[in-house]
Symmetry: none
Subunit: 155 residues, 2 copies
DNA sequence: ATAATCAAAGTCAAAGAAGGTCAAAAGAGG
DNA sequence: CCTCTTTTGACCTTCTTTGACTTTGATTAT
């Protein structure tokens, strides 16, 4: 094994596997001590090896009783499909195109009807009280974020 | 459970549930003693976990025979409940408060977990690339629109 | 009645306990 | 060498715990 980050990565993945639940909750300082490194190295490991793209979701809480929770998520072929749509969205997105994409998501059973309605409502130009270059940019940003959540939230 | 505040929160919620009446009345000092903490920790727990945004109302009385009464806001009529939350949102909404409200919607089974995650993602400050007075306004606008959709999209 | 006293609950700010960020320094590979 | 990745540490933000002090309500003594 080449370096600390790789070792910690393996360790965390083993923890997840052994837990049998696809979830592991750690104390940053505790792991840091175990591997004799600074706490922020954990942030580095997580940022480079447990990203959405790698198929993980990370939540955390500060303060007393704080924690970092890493969850592994399944991402079959849906990932491809969503990645494709995200590329399609690009940096700007008209309301028209947004509607089409949401319709596609619904038809492919990636979102329910209610979810589709929520997303549509959010991206309506009435809701996004902004002038035009910005509005389309925000809409693109929102839809791409939503797609990430959809992909990485199916338990 | 990770810390005292979380433990006390769970305890109080269990009390409410078990009472069957959506109300619970406690003695601050008594609970503090039970959990071996200072009385003012109860105020902290209440202020951070039993707010209006969370769907609770709190009344209290000082002096001899004093008490703290926590009431869970009735959610029998979804319309009423959503109207209440919309009023709470007002014209501006911080990310913090948005989180609380979404949590409340989830706990009251008005939205699914996936829907909650989608809505949270949309309202994240990372997503709404705007400076501060505008961002909170947009967030308020979005959440209220989403609530409308939720209300009118079922039954 | 009034005042004094006791019995709650409320407020607030400081201290403590996590985790997060960022950029500089150090290493590894080509 | 030059670039990319990893390691470190100083500083930041968020959340929790604690305690001294305040306010309010009830009771008791004058």
């Amino acid at each position: 094994m080449r370096n600390m980050s790789d070792i910690i990565e393996q360790y965390l993945k083993k923890l997840i596997e052994e837990s049998g639940t696809e979830v592991v909750e750690i104390k940053r300082a505790h792991i840091a001590e175990k591997f004799d490194c600074v706490p922020s190295q954990l942030n580095y490991v997580i940022k480079t090896r447990f990203t959405n793209e790698h198929g993980y979701t990370v939540e955390s809480k500060r303060g007393g009783g704080g924690y970092i929770r890493i969850t592994k998520v399944e991402t079959h072929s849906k990932a491809e499909y969503l990645a494709h749509l995200k590329r399609l969205v690009g940096e700007q997105l008209s309301q028209q195109n947004a509607k089409h994409i949401i319709q596609s998501l619904y038809e492919n059973e990636v979102v329910t009807q209610k979810e589709a309605k929520i997303i549509s409502a959010v991206m309506d130009r009435e809701t996004l009280m902004l002038e035009l270059p910005y509005r389309d940019r925000l809409r693109a940003k929102i839809l791409k974020r939503v797609m990430d959540v959809i992909l990485y939230s199916e338990e």
